[in-house]
Protein backbone atom coordinates (compact mmCIF):
# COMPACT_ATOMS: atom_id res chain seq x y z
CA UNK A 1 0.00 0.00 0.00
CA UNK A 2 1.38 3.36 -0.99
CA UNK A 3 0.85 6.14 1.56
CA UNK A 4 -1.94 8.68 1.02
CA UNK A 5 -0.49 12.21 0.76
CA UNK A 6 -1.16 14.42 3.76
CA UNK A 7 -3.77 17.16 3.39
CA UNK A 8 -3.81 18.17 7.05
CA UNK A 9 -2.76 21.76 6.20
CA UNK A 10 -6.00 22.46 4.28
CA UNK A 11 -9.13 24.19 5.50
CA UNK A 12 -11.92 22.08 4.04
CA UNK A 13 -14.52 24.83 4.42
CA UNK A 14 -13.78 25.92 0.85
CA UNK A 15 -11.72 23.10 -0.69
CA UNK A 16 -13.11 19.61 -1.48
CA UNK A 17 -11.97 17.14 1.14
CA UNK A 18 -10.54 13.83 -0.12
CA UNK A 19 -13.33 11.25 -0.11
CA UNK A 20 -14.21 7.85 -1.55
CA UNK A 21 -13.91 9.17 -5.13
CA UNK A 22 -10.40 10.54 -4.53
CA UNK A 23 -9.30 7.25 -2.97
CA UNK A 24 -10.77 5.27 -5.86
CA UNK A 25 -8.53 7.25 -8.21
CA UNK A 26 -5.47 6.52 -6.04
CA UNK A 27 -6.32 2.81 -5.96
CA UNK A 28 -6.97 2.69 -9.69
CA UNK A 29 -3.81 4.55 -10.72
CA UNK A 30 -1.68 2.26 -8.54
CA UNK A 31 -3.50 -0.99 -9.41
CA UNK A 32 -1.34 -3.64 -11.03
CA UNK A 33 -3.30 -3.51 -14.28
CA UNK A 34 -3.02 0.28 -14.65
CA UNK A 35 0.64 0.48 -13.66
CA UNK A 36 1.36 -2.26 -16.22
CA UNK A 37 -0.56 -0.29 -18.84
CA UNK A 38 1.17 3.00 -18.01
CA UNK A 39 4.64 1.46 -17.75
CA UNK A 40 4.18 -0.12 -21.13
CA UNK A 41 2.91 3.10 -22.68
CA UNK A 42 5.49 5.44 -21.17
CA UNK A 43 8.58 3.26 -21.13
CA UNK A 44 11.61 5.34 -20.23
CA UNK A 45 13.65 4.32 -23.26
CA UNK A 46 10.90 5.17 -25.70
CA UNK A 47 9.54 8.50 -24.54
CA UNK A 48 10.29 11.86 -22.96
CA UNK A 49 9.07 12.60 -19.40
CA UNK A 50 5.29 12.09 -19.35
CA UNK A 51 3.25 15.14 -18.36
CA UNK A 52 0.39 14.36 -15.99
CA UNK A 53 -2.41 16.93 -15.82
CA UNK A 54 -5.14 16.82 -13.22
CA UNK A 55 -8.08 19.17 -13.74
CA UNK A 56 -9.99 20.17 -10.62
CA UNK A 57 -7.23 19.13 -8.22
CA UNK A 58 -9.13 20.22 -5.08
CA UNK A 59 -6.92 19.23 -2.13
CA UNK A 60 -4.29 17.93 -4.56
CA UNK A 61 -4.31 14.46 -3.00
CA UNK A 62 -4.48 12.62 -6.35
CA UNK A 63 -1.84 14.68 -8.13
CA UNK A 64 0.42 14.47 -5.07
CA UNK A 65 0.02 10.69 -5.04
CA UNK A 66 1.17 10.48 -8.65
CA UNK A 67 4.01 12.95 -8.04
CA UNK A 68 5.23 10.99 -5.01
CA UNK A 69 5.04 7.53 -6.59
CA UNK A 70 6.21 7.87 -10.18
CA UNK A 71 8.48 4.83 -9.92
CA UNK A 72 5.63 2.56 -8.87
CA UNK A 73 3.09 3.97 -11.31
CA UNK A 74 5.25 4.69 -14.37
CA UNK A 75 8.45 2.78 -13.71
CA UNK A 76 10.37 6.04 -14.11
CA UNK A 77 11.16 9.08 -11.99
CA UNK A 78 11.20 11.90 -14.50
CA UNK A 79 7.43 12.46 -14.45
CA UNK A 80 6.02 16.00 -14.68
CA UNK A 81 2.85 17.01 -12.85
CA UNK A 82 0.56 19.98 -13.51
CA UNK A 83 -2.82 20.88 -12.05
CA UNK A 84 -5.70 23.27 -12.60
CA UNK A 85 -8.66 24.29 -10.48
CA UNK A 86 -11.36 26.92 -10.83
CA UNK A 87 -11.02 27.63 -7.09
CA UNK A 88 -7.95 29.76 -6.33
CA UNK A 89 -7.85 28.54 -2.72
CA UNK A 90 -7.69 24.95 -3.98
CA UNK A 91 -4.82 25.91 -6.32
CA UNK A 92 -2.68 27.09 -3.43
CA UNK A 93 -3.66 24.25 -1.11
CA UNK A 94 -3.02 21.59 -3.76
CA UNK A 95 0.39 22.99 -4.69
CA UNK A 96 1.37 22.68 -1.05
CA UNK A 97 0.05 19.11 -0.89
CA UNK A 98 2.10 18.08 -3.93
CA UNK A 99 5.30 19.81 -2.81
CA UNK A 100 5.00 18.26 0.62
CA UNK A 101 4.35 14.75 -0.75
CA UNK A 102 7.41 14.95 -3.02
CA UNK A 103 9.59 16.23 -0.20
CA UNK A 104 8.54 13.32 2.03
CA UNK A 105 10.11 10.89 -0.40
CA UNK A 106 13.80 10.14 -0.02
CA UNK A 107 13.93 8.85 -3.55
CA UNK A 108 11.37 8.48 -6.32
CA UNK A 109 11.18 12.22 -6.86
CA UNK A 110 9.31 13.67 -9.79
CA UNK A 111 9.05 17.26 -11.00
CA UNK A 112 6.01 19.30 -10.01
CA UNK A 113 5.19 22.27 -12.20
CA UNK A 114 2.30 24.33 -10.82
CA UNK A 115 -1.41 24.46 -10.18
CA UNK A 116 -3.01 27.18 -12.29
CA UNK A 117 -6.38 28.79 -11.72
CA UNK A 118 -8.56 28.16 -14.74
CA UNK A 119 -11.62 26.70 -16.37
CA UNK A 120 -10.93 22.99 -17.00
CA UNK A 121 -7.98 22.62 -19.42
CA UNK A 122 -8.67 25.80 -21.40
CA UNK A 123 -5.13 27.18 -20.94
CA UNK A 124 -3.30 23.93 -21.75
CA UNK A 125 -1.24 23.80 -24.94
CA UNK A 126 -2.88 21.41 -27.42
CA UNK A 127 -1.54 17.83 -27.61
CA UNK A 128 0.82 18.26 -24.66
CA UNK A 129 -0.76 15.99 -22.03
CA UNK A 130 0.27 12.34 -21.66
CA UNK A 131 -1.88 11.38 -18.70
CA UNK A 132 -5.03 13.27 -17.82
CA UNK A 133 -6.92 12.78 -14.55
CA UNK A 134 -10.34 14.24 -13.70
CA UNK A 135 -12.52 13.79 -10.65
CA UNK A 136 -15.39 15.99 -11.86
CA UNK A 137 -18.24 17.67 -10.06
CA UNK A 138 -20.52 14.70 -10.83
CA UNK A 139 -23.50 15.13 -8.50
CA UNK A 140 -26.79 15.84 -10.30
CA UNK A 141 -27.39 19.23 -8.68
CA UNK A 142 -27.89 22.71 -10.02
CA UNK A 143 -24.67 24.48 -11.00
CA UNK A 144 -23.82 27.50 -8.87
CA UNK A 145 -24.12 30.98 -10.38
CA UNK A 146 -20.71 31.57 -11.98
CA UNK A 147 -21.35 35.27 -12.51
CA UNK A 148 -20.19 35.90 -8.95
CA UNK A 149 -17.05 33.78 -9.33
CA UNK A 150 -14.48 36.57 -9.41
CA UNK A 151 -15.87 38.02 -6.21
CA UNK A 152 -15.98 34.62 -4.48
CA UNK A 153 -12.59 33.45 -5.73
CA UNK A 154 -10.60 35.80 -3.51
CA UNK A 155 -10.56 37.00 0.08
CA UNK A 156 -12.76 40.14 0.15
CA UNK A 157 -10.92 43.45 0.29
CA UNK A 158 -10.27 44.51 3.85
CA UNK A 159 -11.32 41.10 5.24
CA UNK A 160 -9.11 38.40 6.70
CA UNK A 161 -11.10 35.37 5.59
CA UNK A 162 -13.74 34.19 3.15
CA UNK A 163 -17.43 34.47 4.05
CA UNK A 164 -19.78 31.54 4.64
CA UNK A 165 -21.51 32.40 1.34
CA UNK A 166 -18.19 32.24 -0.51
CA UNK A 167 -17.25 28.92 1.05
CA UNK A 168 -20.63 27.39 0.13
CA UNK A 169 -20.23 28.60 -3.44
CA UNK A 170 -16.69 27.22 -3.76
CA UNK A 171 -17.70 23.81 -2.36
CA UNK A 172 -20.72 23.68 -4.68
CA UNK A 173 -18.34 24.13 -7.62
CA UNK A 174 -16.48 21.02 -6.49
CA UNK A 175 -19.47 18.69 -6.60
CA UNK A 176 -22.47 20.13 -8.49
CA UNK A 177 -22.60 18.76 -12.03
CA UNK A 178 -25.94 20.00 -13.40
CA UNK A 179 -28.25 17.68 -15.35
CA UNK A 180 -27.28 14.01 -14.85
CA UNK A 181 -24.21 15.42 -13.09
CA UNK A 182 -22.66 15.58 -16.58
CA UNK A 183 -22.66 19.24 -17.60
CA UNK A 184 -19.07 19.97 -16.54
CA UNK A 185 -17.82 16.48 -17.49
CA UNK A 186 -19.26 16.81 -20.99
CA UNK A 187 -17.42 20.08 -21.50
CA UNK A 188 -14.22 18.41 -20.31
CA UNK A 189 -14.67 15.33 -22.48
CA UNK A 190 -14.85 17.62 -25.52
CA UNK A 191 -11.41 19.02 -24.69
CA UNK A 192 -9.74 15.62 -24.17
CA UNK A 193 -8.84 14.78 -27.80
CA UNK A 194 -7.42 18.28 -28.16
CA UNK A 195 -5.14 18.26 -25.10
CA UNK A 196 -3.90 14.65 -25.17
CA UNK A 197 -0.61 13.97 -26.90
CA UNK A 198 -0.85 12.13 -30.18
CA UNK A 199 1.50 9.39 -29.03
CA UNK A 200 -0.04 7.46 -26.20
CA UNK A 201 -2.11 10.10 -24.41
CA UNK A 202 -4.51 8.56 -21.91
CA UNK A 203 -7.27 9.99 -19.70
CA UNK A 204 -8.80 8.77 -16.43
CA UNK A 205 -12.24 10.19 -15.65
CA UNK A 206 -14.29 9.32 -12.60
CA UNK A 207 -18.06 8.91 -12.97
CA UNK A 208 -20.90 8.02 -10.64
CA UNK A 209 -23.84 5.74 -11.46
CA UNK A 210 -26.20 8.68 -12.10
CA UNK A 211 -23.83 9.87 -14.83
CA UNK A 212 -24.79 6.74 -16.83
CA UNK A 213 -21.21 5.52 -17.37
CA UNK A 214 -22.16 2.98 -20.04
CA UNK A 215 -23.76 5.70 -22.16
CA UNK A 216 -20.75 7.97 -21.65
CA UNK A 217 -18.33 5.21 -22.67
CA UNK A 218 -20.30 4.44 -25.81
CA UNK A 219 -20.36 8.10 -26.74
CA UNK A 220 -16.56 8.24 -26.48
CA UNK A 221 -16.17 5.15 -28.68
CA UNK A 222 -18.46 6.87 -31.19
CA UNK A 223 -15.86 9.64 -31.57
CA UNK A 224 -14.26 7.19 -34.00
CA UNK A 225 -10.58 7.30 -34.92
CA UNK A 226 -9.73 4.43 -32.55
CA UNK A 227 -10.91 6.05 -29.32
CA UNK A 228 -11.55 3.53 -26.57
CA UNK A 229 -13.23 3.78 -23.17
CA UNK A 230 -13.22 1.07 -20.51
CA UNK A 231 -13.98 0.88 -16.80
CA UNK A 232 -10.70 0.22 -15.00
CA UNK A 233 -11.70 0.89 -11.41
CA UNK A 234 -14.89 0.78 -9.35
CA UNK A 235 -16.18 0.96 -5.81
CA UNK A 236 -19.33 0.83 -3.72
CA UNK A 237 -21.12 -2.08 -5.36
CA UNK A 238 -24.84 -1.88 -4.60
CA UNK A 239 -27.17 -4.56 -5.98
CA UNK A 240 -24.85 -5.13 -8.92
CA UNK A 241 -24.44 -1.40 -9.63
CA UNK A 242 -21.12 0.33 -9.15
CA UNK A 243 -21.57 3.58 -7.32
CA UNK A 244 -18.34 5.07 -8.65
CA UNK A 245 -16.24 4.05 -11.63
CA UNK A 246 -13.00 5.23 -13.20
CA UNK A 247 -13.07 5.18 -16.99
CA UNK A 248 -9.87 5.04 -18.98
CA UNK A 249 -10.04 6.86 -22.32
CA UNK A 250 -7.33 6.28 -24.87
CA UNK A 251 -6.57 5.67 -28.50
CA UNK A 252 -5.62 2.17 -29.49
CA UNK A 253 -2.15 1.92 -30.98
CA UNK A 254 -1.87 1.35 -34.71
Amino acid sequence: MLPTPSTSHICFDRVYEPAEDSYLLLDTLSSSSETAFLRDRFHETSSTPPLVLEVGVGSGVVLAFVAANPGTIFGRHDVLTLGTDINSFACKAAAQTVRHAIKEREDDRSVFLDVVNGDLASAIRPNSIDVFVFNPPYVPAELPDLSCHDRHNTIPHGKKATSFEQDSYLLELSYAGGEDGMVVTNRMLEQIPEILSGEGGVAYVLLCAQNKPEVVKQRIRDWGGGWMAETVGSSGKKAGWEKLVVVRIWKSAG
Binding site: R109, D119, R125, D150
Partner: protein, 142 residues
Protein backbone atom coordinates in the same frame (compact mmCIF):
# COMPACT_ATOMS: atom_id res chain seq x y z
CA UNK B 1 4.86 29.74 -11.27
CA UNK B 2 7.84 28.10 -12.88
CA UNK B 3 9.00 29.13 -16.33
CA UNK B 4 8.89 25.47 -17.43
CA UNK B 5 5.11 25.61 -16.87
CA UNK B 6 4.89 28.22 -19.66
CA UNK B 7 6.14 25.50 -22.04
CA UNK B 8 2.76 23.79 -21.63
CA UNK B 9 0.34 26.73 -21.45
CA UNK B 10 -1.34 28.88 -24.04
CA UNK B 11 -4.05 31.52 -24.25
CA UNK B 12 -7.39 30.27 -22.91
CA UNK B 13 -9.31 31.98 -25.73
CA UNK B 14 -10.47 29.24 -28.09
CA UNK B 15 -9.83 31.10 -31.34
CA UNK B 16 -6.24 31.92 -30.27
CA UNK B 17 -5.17 28.29 -30.00
CA UNK B 18 -4.73 27.83 -33.74
CA UNK B 19 -2.69 31.05 -33.98
CA UNK B 20 1.07 30.57 -33.54
CA UNK B 21 1.33 33.98 -31.84
CA UNK B 22 -0.68 32.72 -28.83
CA UNK B 23 2.41 30.76 -27.70
CA UNK B 24 4.39 31.41 -25.65
CA UNK B 25 2.56 33.77 -23.32
CA UNK B 26 4.64 36.87 -22.65
CA UNK B 27 5.42 37.82 -19.05
CA UNK B 28 4.87 41.50 -18.28
CA UNK B 29 5.67 43.49 -15.11
CA UNK B 30 6.91 40.23 -13.64
CA UNK B 31 8.31 40.00 -10.13
CA UNK B 32 10.58 36.98 -10.09
CA UNK B 33 11.67 34.87 -7.19
CA UNK B 34 14.31 32.16 -7.16
CA UNK B 35 12.98 29.11 -5.33
CA UNK B 36 15.85 26.68 -5.08
CA UNK B 37 15.27 23.08 -6.04
CA UNK B 38 17.47 20.04 -6.31
CA UNK B 39 19.00 19.65 -9.75
CA UNK B 40 17.69 16.51 -11.41
CA UNK B 41 20.10 15.68 -14.22
CA UNK B 42 18.24 12.70 -15.74
CA UNK B 43 15.08 14.80 -15.85
CA UNK B 44 16.82 17.71 -17.59
CA UNK B 45 18.35 15.36 -20.12
CA UNK B 46 15.04 13.68 -20.88
CA UNK B 47 12.96 16.88 -21.04
CA UNK B 48 15.16 18.48 -23.75
CA UNK B 49 13.11 17.13 -26.68
CA UNK B 50 9.91 18.50 -25.12
CA UNK B 51 11.19 22.06 -24.78
CA UNK B 52 10.06 24.70 -27.27
CA UNK B 53 13.58 26.06 -27.21
CA UNK B 54 13.20 29.30 -29.13
CA UNK B 55 10.13 30.20 -27.12
CA UNK B 56 11.89 29.54 -23.82
CA UNK B 57 14.81 31.69 -24.98
CA UNK B 58 12.45 34.51 -25.90
CA UNK B 59 10.65 34.35 -22.52
CA UNK B 60 14.03 34.41 -20.73
CA UNK B 61 15.05 37.40 -22.86
CA UNK B 62 11.81 39.24 -22.12
CA UNK B 63 12.42 38.69 -18.42
CA UNK B 64 15.94 40.09 -18.73
CA UNK B 65 17.55 36.80 -17.68
CA UNK B 66 21.06 35.84 -18.84
CA UNK B 67 20.94 34.54 -22.41
CA UNK B 68 20.49 30.83 -22.99
CA UNK B 69 22.41 29.09 -25.80
CA UNK B 70 20.84 30.02 -29.16
CA UNK B 71 20.71 26.38 -30.19
CA UNK B 72 18.93 23.84 -28.01
CA UNK B 73 21.42 21.83 -25.94
CA UNK B 74 21.88 18.14 -26.56
CA UNK B 75 22.22 15.65 -23.67
CA UNK B 76 26.05 15.71 -23.83
CA UNK B 77 25.99 19.48 -23.21
CA UNK B 78 24.50 18.89 -19.78
CA UNK B 79 27.45 16.90 -18.47
CA UNK B 80 30.55 18.56 -17.10
CA UNK B 81 33.84 17.55 -18.68
CA UNK B 82 35.56 15.26 -16.18
CA UNK B 83 38.55 16.81 -14.41
CA UNK B 84 40.56 13.68 -14.86
CA UNK B 85 39.88 12.01 -18.23
CA UNK B 86 40.94 8.62 -16.85
CA UNK B 87 37.83 8.56 -14.66
CA UNK B 88 35.31 8.98 -17.48
CA UNK B 89 34.14 5.41 -17.23
CA UNK B 90 32.93 3.57 -14.17
CA UNK B 91 30.05 4.26 -11.86
CA UNK B 92 31.04 7.76 -10.78
CA UNK B 93 28.20 10.29 -10.43
CA UNK B 94 27.95 12.46 -13.50
CA UNK B 95 28.35 16.14 -12.77
CA UNK B 96 26.07 18.75 -14.33
CA UNK B 97 27.71 21.26 -16.66
CA UNK B 98 27.21 25.01 -16.41
CA UNK B 99 24.62 24.69 -19.19
CA UNK B 100 22.68 22.20 -17.05
CA UNK B 101 22.86 24.53 -14.05
CA UNK B 102 21.69 27.49 -16.14
CA UNK B 103 18.83 25.49 -17.58
CA UNK B 104 17.78 24.24 -14.15
CA UNK B 105 17.88 27.80 -12.82
CA UNK B 106 15.72 29.19 -15.65
CA UNK B 107 13.20 26.37 -16.01
CA UNK B 108 12.70 25.12 -12.47
CA UNK B 109 13.95 27.73 -10.01
CA UNK B 110 12.90 31.03 -11.59
CA UNK B 111 9.29 31.65 -10.57
CA UNK B 112 6.89 34.43 -11.52
CA UNK B 113 5.32 35.53 -8.24
CA UNK B 114 3.41 38.59 -9.43
CA UNK B 115 2.71 40.08 -12.82
CA UNK B 116 0.86 39.30 -16.02
CA UNK B 117 1.03 36.83 -18.86
CA UNK B 118 0.02 38.38 -22.16
CA UNK B 119 -1.29 36.58 -25.26
CA UNK B 120 0.57 37.69 -28.38
CA UNK B 121 -2.54 37.07 -30.45
CA UNK B 122 -5.51 38.67 -28.65
CA UNK B 123 -3.57 40.75 -26.14
CA UNK B 124 -5.48 39.35 -23.15
CA UNK B 125 -3.60 39.77 -19.88
CA UNK B 126 -3.71 36.93 -17.37
CA UNK B 127 -2.82 37.98 -13.85
CA UNK B 128 -0.30 36.10 -11.70
CA UNK B 129 -0.83 36.61 -7.98
CA UNK B 130 1.13 34.92 -5.21
CA UNK B 131 2.61 32.60 -7.80
CA UNK B 132 -0.78 31.43 -9.15
CA UNK B 133 -1.74 32.35 -12.72
CA UNK B 134 -5.41 33.06 -13.33
CA UNK B 135 -6.68 31.87 -16.72
CA UNK B 136 -10.37 32.42 -16.06
CA UNK B 137 -12.00 34.50 -18.76
CA UNK B 138 -15.24 36.46 -18.36
CA UNK B 139 -16.72 34.07 -20.95
CA UNK B 140 -16.07 31.06 -18.67
CA UNK B 141 -18.08 32.64 -15.92
CA UNK B 142 -21.57 32.83 -17.38
Amino acid sequence: MKLLTLNFLTCAVKTCKTQPSSFPLHPRDAELEIIEAELNLPFLRNILPRLMWEDICSVARELGLPALPAIAPIPADLLAAPLDPSTTTGGAEQEPSQTARDLHRVLLETCIQEGKLVCGCCGHEYAVKEGVANFLLPGHLV
